[in-house]
């Protein structure tokens, strides 16, 4: 893979991150809970220790640009994201770190499952067009697409947790229980994870299936498929070696773009199941108008998406030799 390709992609990612940090900085100034207002005591209920720390950190007696911005950049680069208004003034970075794990677990796994199942379903649907699986799958995918994730979650919760009692209704682990062994802990987490995971996967599967299906259908009209057929290759071989590698290409790009939209669903699903991750944190911070935390979440999620896009770009480069020049 060309060096130019890599540097171009990396450069783009870095530029985007810088723009995000800039946006964050501007937002921060706009916020009612901005440092000046804290100092002037307009935001009630903020501990005085936080006021002092904020003043020092942001260098608020110096001009906005470039001094304050540079100070902000430097602090952010070091991982210092300010202090939460609530939670006794804990550093935002700490708060985020604590909640990051459960979110990664839920969404990493959810995306993975959705990608594998969704792409497989979509490919099968596109290959065997017009079959029962195709029509039913298509209809189901459309309905799933129209359903907000949290609604799906609420429905699943109602049916399987409250109704059938198969799963617990909230949290990641049972409250106040000490686990006999690591295995027990895993099982407990697993039981709590099941419904939110199912929600996330179902929500995403529909989109990926539809994407892959139209991509496969499009690919099948290409000339090289006719050639492959004339070569006397089996259907399976044509699908695996010719159709799929090409059909995957637009799908990879779209999966990456989709990530920005998935975040909305992510947040709400956590709320429904009271899953202790970044999503629940965001909504709680919103209610409490804890702006530093909100800012931190924005920054973290943005960077994650940029990195994910970068990875998707690199994967695309691996799959399609035409962009590598």
């Amino acid at each position: 893979m060309g060096i130019r390709f890599l540097t171009r992609r990396l450069g783009g990612a870095v530029l985007t991150i810088v723009m995000i940090v800039l946006l964050n900085f501007v937002l921060f100034r706009m916020m009612p809970g901005s440092p000046e207002r804290i100092l002037l005591g307009r935001v009630p209920g903020v501990p005085p220790a936080v006021v002092e720390a904020t003043k020092i950190r942001w260098g608020l007696d110096k001009p906005l640009f470039p001094d304050q911005f540079v100070a902000y950049l430097a602090a952010t680069a070091k991982g210092d994201l300010g202090f939460s208004y609530g939670e006794r003034g804990r550093p935002v970075a700490d708060v985020l770190l604590q909640k990051l794990g459960p979110t990664l677990l839920l969404f990493g796994l959810g995306e993975l499952i959705a990608i594998v199942i969704g792409l497989a379903l979509g490919a099968y649907s596109g290959w065997r067009r017009g079959g029962i699986v195709d029509h039913v799958g298509n209809a189901v995918s459309l309905v799933l697409y129209a359903t907000p994730y949290f609604l799906l979650g609420m429905g699943l919760l109602l049916l399987f947790a409250t109704g059938l009692g198969w799963f617990p209704t909230f949290g990641m682990t049972e409250l106040g229980v000490t686990h006999a062994s690591f295995i027990d802990l895993l099982i407990d987490i697993g039981r709590h994870l099941f419904l939110p995971l199912a929600t996330v996967s179902l929500g995403l599967v529909g989109q990926y299936a539809i994407l892959m299906r139209s991509s496969v259908i499009e690919t099948m009209t290409e000339d090289y498929i006719t050639t492959a057929n004339a070569k006397g290759l089996t259907d399976g071989r044509i699908l695996r070696a010719h159709a799929l590698p090409n059909a995957l290409l637009p799908t990879v790009s779209l999966v990456a773009i989709n990530l920005g939209y998935v975040v909305a669903g992510a947040i709400t699903v956590e709320v429904v199941f009271n899953w202790p991750g970044l999503g629940t944190l965001t909504v709680e911070a919103l209610e409490a108008r804890d702006y530093p935390v909100l800012q931190g979440v924005f920054l973290l999620l943005s960077i994650t998406i940029v990195v994910a896009n970068l990875i998707a770009d690199l994967v695309y480069g691996m799959l399609d030799p035409r962009v590598r020049t």
Binding site: E222, D223, T227, K231
Partner: protein, 380 residues
């Protein structure tokens, strides 16, 4: 691996299919008829087409777009859309009728016996796989050749078609149009097929490259004893490369015979017009002989001669009765009332062109109708 070592002057290395009849002609197509089912109609794309290809021969199939030449070729190994059906006829390869074969059994013959070089190799190659791998693919998948040997053979084939060894690891988009077409030819040769079908193999290329490709075909025929079916609307290609020519019109055979005979003395008026319509850079300047009108709608094939509406020699007979296929003494087959059964092949049934046509198919009012059929005039 004896096969992987390649062909030695002339004879194929792989054994014939089990049911093959060693005395039968290489390829014999008889009364092939292929229809396409549309929602409201049936298109008679190929109607009662017969021809034969002998070992080592090159047959050119000529005609306008839509005359059924490509469908004929694709029908040989049934690479057809799902709404197409071979309605009747036989396609006998080594005496084995491919039409009767089930799809699974037919697969055996694809590429290993009949390989197709498609038009516009731009998109006919998979853009995300290397050339070498695509050439090696039929060897690996169809002949169970181990990967390393298959790759070696692929490189040999690339050299054979004139592509330097190192280029095998390139992707299609990194090659020029001519090199892509050569790669397609190398790919077609991979399994040592009995017949190679070239569907407009030079149409998408510029003239210089066209010449190179044709030269390649010549060389391959010479060195490997290749049997070839070349489909093209370009008669000069057929003149240069083929032994025999089959002229098709509206899905039916118009004329068929040795290239030298047919081109020097075309019997069917359509063949004559085709040859006349082709500009000759060396001959005197003359008006371009255009064939007015357009081919008939194949959804309702006419019950009489399909060329009658545009034919300068047409008489009432032509518009009422379908001309039978007649084999003339010099071996040319023709379907035209000018050459009825028993004709000596020298004197047509009539020689005067018909009166200027008042209605010439869809293009009524085209002025060229007035001099239709008149021999080429000198326009100094």
């Amino acid at each position: 691996m004896s096969g992987a070592a390649g062909r030695v002057a002339g004879r194929r290395q792989w054994p014939l299919p089990r049911d093959a009849d060693p005395d039968a002609p290489l390829l014999e197509v008889e009364h092939l008829t292929t229809h396409f089912r549309l929602p409201n109609a049936t298109v008679h794309a190929v109607d009662d087409v017969s021809f034969r290809l002998n070992d080592g021969e090159a047959l050119g199939i000529a005609g306008e777009s839509g005359c059924g030449k490509t469908t004929t070729a694709l029908s040989l190994v049934r690479i057809l859309p799902s709404n197409a059906r071979i309605v009747s006829g036989t396609v006998k390869l080594f005496g084995i009728d491919l039409v009767q074969k089930s799809p699974a059994a037919l697969r055996r013959y694809r590429w290993r016996e009949i390989a197709i070089v498609f038009q516009g190799a731009m998109n006919a190659l998979n853009p995300v796989r290397r050339i070498r791998d695509q050439i090696a693919e039929p060897l690996e998948e169809r002949l169970q050749v181990p990967r390393r040997d298959a790759r070696k053979r692929a490189d040999e084939l690339l050299e054979l078609v004139g592509i330097p060894r190192g280029r095998g690891s390139a992707y299609p988009h990194e090659l020029s149009g001519g090199m892509r077409q050569r790669s397609m030819i190398a790919m077609a040769l991979a399994c040592d097929p009995a017949v190679i079908v070239g569907d407009e193999p030079t149409t998408a290329l510029d003239v210089m490259v066209q010449a190179q490709i044709l030269e390649l075909f010549e060389r391959l025929r010479h060195e490997l004893g290749l049997s070839l079916i070349l489909i093209t609307h370009d008669l000069s290609v057929i003149a240069e490369t083929c032994d025999r020519v089959l002229v098709m019109y509206a899905g039916k055979v118009a004329e068929e015979g040795a290239v030298s005979t047919v081109f020097r003395n075309p019997r069917h008026p359509y063949t004559g017009k085709l040859l006349g319509a082709f500009p000759n850079i060396r001959a005197d300047r003359r008006t371009l002989d255009v064939i007015p009108g357009s081919p008939p709608d194949l959804r309702e094939p006419p019950k009489a001669c399909p060329f009658a509406p545009r034919c300068p020699m047409a008489r009432d007979l032509c518009r009422e009765v379908m001309p039978p296929e007649v084999t003339l003494p010099d071996g040319v087959r023709v379907a035209c009332h000018l050459w009825p059964a028993g004709s000596d092949g020298v004197t047509p049934a009539w020689t005067t062109p018909s009166k200027p046509q008042l209605e010439i198919g869809a293009d009524a009012g085209v002025a060229a109708g007035a001099d239709a059929g008149a021999p080429a005039r000198d326009v100094a």
